[in-house]
């Protein structure tokens, strides 16, 4: 069938319903674009943006008994609307050393865990990127697989590993080494964070490393660089977007982590996610929990914006 002499047929009959639908929508001023956008935009505004505003509002309320367990912001008294804002949650946040310590230790723990995840994840991502083709996909799947298997159950698996009579200590016992206390320590929290978030580090690193032009590395070697010099002057700088994206993907959720410090950490492991959880579930002080959330948001909002930029740089060719 040649296309050059084809006369222009009207579209077949069965195409028409869609055309009619579109014409009808266009008549009332709804374009195709708006049709695609309206549902996700409405959903995200209602269930993502508005909730953040609500948290901010309630953080300015104060705890009271009843349902809901916080004071109303707007009250009507003799026909006038009154806005009552309480700053006591925030004052407490800065004056009570528990909160300050929890913030600082969350940031410290998340930063150290991110560094170790990078140190372990980088060579793994590099090895996968350099692996021959069929292997590469298998190895990638092996990285993704634990990420899909329940996070909670993997933390549970770690507790079985690190417990006093767990496998590590049984193994050490074979050599006559005294059992180590690993559970309920900061060490266990670090292991848990690295273990859980390693795939988040490897995937963006792999994406930048696999696109790396190997002729640059060969050129560097031809010009007489030792392998580690090539790595420092060529590979490492070119993979910076991946390093940044991976580190942020680990750091942001690690700062607010609750499950890992709750199951692996000891009572002295202070993390802000745990403080928020306790304020809400144990103390049932919703406004205080909301103010902790706002302060946590202040810590992660800059990293989240950086991540957006870094992810753009990773995806672009």
């Amino acid at each position: 069938m040649t296309t050059s002499h084809e006369p222009t047929y009207p579209p077949p009959r069965r195409l028409r319903p869609w055309n009619a639908v579109e014409r009808g929508l266009a008549k009332v001023g709804i374009s195709g674009k708006a049709l695609v956008l309206i549902a996700p935009v409405a959903w995200l505004v209602i269930f993502f943006l508005v909730p953040l505003a609500v948290v901010f509002g309630i953080s300015l309320a104060t705890k009271q008994f009843g349902r809901p367990p916080y004071s109303p912001l707007l009250t009507t008294e003799e026909g006038t609307v009154q806005l009552t804002l309480h700053l006591n949650n925030y004052i407490r946040l800065f004056s009570d050393s528990l909160y300050v310590a929890a913030y600082l230790s969350s940031i410290r723990i998340a930063a150290i865990a991110t560094l170790f995840t990078l140190l372990i994840g980088y060579p793994m991502a590099y090895a996968i990127a350099r692996a021959p083709d069929p292997w590469r996909n298998v190895l990638l799947m092996l990285v993704v697989l634990p990420f899909f298997t329940s996070f909670l159950l993997r933390i549970y698996a770690l507790t079985g590993f690190m417990r006093g009579n767990g496998l590590i200590n049984q193994f050490l016992g074979l050599f006559g080494i005294e059992p180590l206390v690993m559970m309920q320590t900061d060490f266990a929290v670090y292991v848990g964070l690295i273990y859980s978030y390693l795939p988040f580090m490897i995937l963006p690193l792999y994406t930048t490393l696999v696109k790396l032009d190997s002729s640059l590395i060969e050129a560097s070697a031809d010009l007489g660089s030792r392998p580690w010099q090539t790595f420092l002057s060529v590979t490492l700088p070119l993979s910076l977007p991946g390093i940044l994206a991976g580190s942020l993907l680990v750091f942001i959720p690690a700062v607010g982590e609750f499950v890992i410090p709750a199951l692996l950490g000891g009572p002295e492991t202070l993390m802000i996610g745990r403080v928020l959880w306790d304020e809400f579930f144990s103390a049932t002080n919703w406004p205080r929990a909301a103010s902790v959330a706002v302060a946590m948001l202040a810590v992660v909002v800059v990293p989240i914006m950086l991540l957006q930029k870094a992810q753009g740089a990773v995806v672009e060719k």
Binding site: G32, P40, V54, F258
Partner: protein, 269 residues
């Protein structure tokens, strides 16, 4: 390029770090002994104990329900968002929109959970809906963050494929809607399948958000597991974990094979 032994060895160590705890958990789920880490013989009694635990079974059923429904909602919303982000180069509020789509992915769970709970409580006070908290509120919460992940998966697939087939369909007189359903949708179908599976497992996995937005009588499986694990180790959790890992592993392998088979250019990730 030669790297000698350093890379393979670190990779091997890294993978054993990822897999050793999981493998030992699977092995010990068949352990006869009550002590979780002392092997005393093969037994499947913990699987039997699991089947006779009504609390566990009803929680599992509820979780599967929630996961299926929220993955489906998230699939529709995430696909629409992906189409908008890939196909509409410019529209007002694009930056805000792409930020809103991806932010739930990295937002700490405690913030997502608390903020949605406070929203639901405020909405109930003002509008009378949702009446109480339970399955519906968990589904809404899970759809919101699963949507972000699904959007990323579908986006990469949409950006990958040859647009000339779409243009050909439109040149032949198909309307944009028809082109989408007849041409685009079949091409991105593998991404939709793996996106749905991803949403399903994310929902099945979530403890923190569900704990905030659930109500009395709607404990999901992770909530039941968490309360058990907090009290100490229980061998039946090993059995449950093995079942879940088995199902997930099969699902991930199928999804990976689907994606590999339908990938137009080899070696592109």
């Amino acid at each position: 390029m030669r790297r000698g032994w350093f890379l393979p060895i670190t990779a091997a160590l890294g993978f054993s770090f990822l897999y050793a705890p999981i493998i030992s958990m699977v092995v010990f789920s068949f352990n006869e002994n009550n002590l979780v880490t002392v092997w005393s013989g093969f037994s499947t009694k913990w699987y039997g104990a699991l089947l006779n635990d009504p609390q566990m079974l009803s929680a599992a059923w509820l979780s599967l329900h929630i996961a299926a429904i929220s993955a489906s909602i998230a699939l529709v919303l995430g696909t629409l968002a992906a189409v908008a982000l890939v196909r509409f180069r410019r529209f007002r509020g694009r930056t805000l929109f792409s930020g809103m789509v991806s932010a739930p992915m990295v937002m700490p769970d405690v913030i997502t959970g608390l903020s949605l709970l406070l929203l639901f409580v405020a909405m109930e006070g003002a509008l009378g809906w949702p009446a109480g908290r339970g399955m519906v509120t968990i589904i809404i919460a899970h759809s919101t963050f699963a949507m972000a992940y699904i959007c990323v998966v579908v986006q990469s697939r949409l950006a990958d494929f040859d647009r000339s087939v779409e243009e050909a369909a439109m040149d032949l007189g198909a309307s944009p809607l028809r082109t989408f359903f007849d041409i685009t949708l079949p091409i991105i179908a593998p991404a939709l399948v793996s996106g749905w599976l991803l949403g399903f497992t994310l929902s099945l996995d979530d403890l923190v958000i569900a704990s905030f937005v659930s109500g009395p009588g709607s404990s999901t499986l992770p909530m039941v597991i968490f309360s058990k694990v907090r009290l100490g180790v229980s061998p039946d959790v090993n059995a449950l974990a093995t079942i879940i890992i088995g199902i997930v592993a099969v699902g991930v392998v199928i999804a990976t094979l689907l994606q590999l088979r339908n990938r137009p250019h080899k070696g592109r990730a």
